[in-house]
Symmetry: C2
Subunit: 415 residues, 2 copies
Amino acid sequence: MAQTIPVSPLALPMPELGVVRGIRLGAIAAGIRYKGRTDLVLAEMAPGTTVAGVFTKSKCPGAPVDWCRAILSKGEARALVVNAGNANVFTGQAGRKTCEATAEATARLADCSAENVYLASTGVIGEILPAERITSALPALHTALSETGWEDAARGIMTTDTFPKAAVRKATIKGTEVIIQGIAKGSGMIAPDMATMLAFVATDAKLPAPVLQALLSAGIQKTFNCITVDSDTSTSDMVLLFATGAAQNPDITATTDALADPELADFRTALNAVLHDLALLVIRDGEGITKLMSIKVSGAVSDQSAWRVAMAIGNSPLVKTAVAGEDANWGRVVMAVGKCGEPADRDTLSVSIGGVCIARNGTVVDGYDETPVVAHMKGQEIDIAVDLGLGAGTAQAWSCDLTHGYIDINGSYRS
Amino acid sequence: MAQTIPVSPLALPMPELGVVRGIRLGAIAAGIRYKGRTDLVLAEMAPGTTVAGVFTKSKCPGAPVDWCRAILSKGEARALVVNAGNANVFTGQAGRKTCEATAEATARLADCSAENVYLASTGVIGEILPAERITSALPALHTALSETGWEDAARGIMTTDTFPKAAVRKATIKGTEVIIQGIAKGSGMIAPDMATMLAFVATDAKLPAPVLQALLSAGIQKTFNCITVDSDTSTSDMVLLFATGAAQNPDITATTDALADPELADFRTALNAVLHDLALLVIRDGEGITKLMSIKVSGAVSDQSAWRVAMAIGNSPLVKTAVAGEDANWGRVVMAVGKCGEPADRDTLSVSIGGVCIARNGTVVDGYDETPVVAHMKGQEIDIAVDLGLGAGTAQAWSCDLTHGYIDINGSYRS
C-alpha cells in the first residue's frame, strides 16, 4: 500500500506556491479507500472560468473521463471534484450514476449547473464507487475551501505517489501579469497518450476556451506525452486547464492562432514550463524509481519517428533494468532502436551515454573507454542520446529505471 | 550470470529424442565467454539438405542474421555453427569478417561452399567476437559429431536459459514416416517478430526449400510470434528448419501449395506441434518466471487485432506483476485492452480468469465471488480470457509473470 512505500529518492520539495485569484481549493478525508489521510479534493472556480482538457485515448475510459469529455464543449468550469483510491472505471451504469450524483451535489453547493462540474477519479479499477461517501463529505469540504489550499489538494489526489507534486510560473499577457499553477498525481500505469494520470492547472488569465484548448493540446505533446514509467496507459488520464480571468488582462479573441500569437508567447512558454515540471515530477515518483532517464533522439526521419524511438528506449524492460543495475549496457539501446519499427539503419546509428559517444556507424568507437560512462551510470540522472543519422527529426523523453521496488508495489497493490 | 540462476520452476524434462538421419551434431567449450561449459555448437547436414529460415525484423540485426538472410536463397544447407555468450551484433566490419572466417573454416571441414554454412550467435551485444576462438575449436568439434548429439547441442546454445529445450514429433508423408526434431534457446529479450531467439529444427523428410519455407513461415505465426517475456525483440532472432531428405519419402513438388496440400497435412500438424512445444519451452524459461500466462482473445474484429490485444495483455508490466503477486486484478487486463489501440468497446468487453467470468458488458458480474479466481491465481499456469464482443477474430498468446528474478537477472547481465 501507498503508506509503506518510502519517498522516492528523486523527489523534489514543493515549490513556493502562489494564489490563483478566482479558484479556492481544499481536501478532506472521506474514507473512500484510505484510512487516516485526505482522499477527496474540491476546487471551486469563479463564474466565467474557461476550461480546456485532454484525456486518455484508452478504449476503456473511466466514467469521470466520459463525463468530462461530454461537458467540455460547454467551455465553462465552476467546480472540480477529485477522489483517490477508486478509479470508477469499468463500473457500468453504477459508475455513471455516481458521476451524476457527485456533479449534482457539487452544483448545489457552488450554485451552478452540473454541466460545469468536472470530475476525476484514480485508484483501483472495477470496484463500485459509492456516491454517498463523496456527497456526504462535500458540504464540510466546501465550507473550508481556501485560495491557499493548493498543497492540501496536491496531497489529497495522491494514490501510490510518494510526494505531492506542484509547479508554478508567472507570465505577462498584453502587459498584465498572470500566474499559472498546477498539481499532478501519478506514479505507475504511466505511459500517457494525450494526457497523463491526473493534472490540474489553473491560471487567473482571461482566455477564451478555444485558445486555452489549443495551448494545452500543444503543450502536452512534449511534456506529458513524452514520459513513461511502465508503458501502461491509464484508463483515467486527464489534464485540465482552468482560466478564471481574475487577472483582467486585455481580451484575447477566441479566433486567434493561439500557437503563433505573439501576445501569448510569454504565456505559452510559462504554461509549457508548468506542464514540463509536472510531467517530470510524475517520473521522479515513478514506482520503484532509483534513477531518472532522459532520452534524446536525433537524426530521425521525423519528430514523430524520433518520439517513437525515444519511447521504445524508455519502455524497454532491458534498458530500464540495465540502468537500475548501473550497467552501461548500450547494446540494449541498440536493441530497442532496432525493435520499434521506425526507420533506422544500424550502420548510421550512434549511441551516447552521459555525453560520451560509445558507438558510431554500426560499431563501437575506436579505443572506447567505459570509465566515464560507468561513473555516469552511478548517478541519479542518466542521459541516453541516440542519433539515427537519417534526417532532422528530434525528440526527448523521460523514463525511470525498473527495480525491485516496482515489483514490490505492483505485486500487491490491491491487498 | 546464468550459472547462478536457479532452474525455472516451470521447466520441463527433455523429451526422449530420436535421430534425424542426415544430420550430426556436437558441442564444445570454446571459451568465448563462459567458463566450464560448452558454448559452441556445430551441426553437419547431408548433401542435398534443404533449408528454410525466418529472422528478426529488428532494424539492427546481428551479423549472423545478415549472413543467413543472404545465403537463404541458395536453398541448401550443409552446416550450422552457433555460439553462445556473444551475439556478434553492432560489431561492424569486424562482425562480418568473423562470419566469413567461421563459414570458410566450416566449409573446409564439411567439404562444401561457405554459402551452405548457416551461422547464429546470441549473447552480449556490441562486443567483437574473435573468429579464432571459433575456428580453432571447430576441427576437434567436427571430429566428435554424432547423430545423438541433440541434447549436447541444446545445452551448448543456452545463455541465460536455465534448462535445455527440445521437441520431437513423427509424421507420415505419402506413406513414409519422417521425424521432426528441434532445439531452442531463449529466456529474456523475448518478443519475437517473425522468429524468436534461436530455434533449429531438422527433419529427415525430403522437401523442396520453397515448401519448407512456406510451412515454417506459417507455422511460426501461432507459435513463436505469440510468445513474449518482456516485449523486447532480439537483434538475433532466428528459426531455421532443415530437411535432410534421408527418409526418402516420395517427391513433393516445389510448386505445391504447402499450406493446403493434403499429402502434407500430417507433416504440417507435427511441425506446428514442434514449433509450439519449443515456443512454450522458451516462455517456461522466461527470466524470473514463477507463473505461465495463457491469454486467449476472442470477439475481435480480426485475428490480427486479437493477436495485438493478447500481446498487449501479455506485455503489460502491471498485468505481469499482478500475476506474480497472485492478485486477481482483472482491472489491469481491462487497462491493457484499452491502451493497445485496437478496436474495443468497454461496454461489450468481458474478462475471465481461470474459466470464471468476472466482468461482462462494462461492469463486474452480479454476485462475483473471487474465491475460485484467487485459488486459480495461486497455481503455476494462469489462464486469462478476454472477449471483445465485436467480431470473430481470435488469438492465443503466452507470457510469464514479472518478478524480482527478472530484475536480478537483468540488472547485472554483463557483470
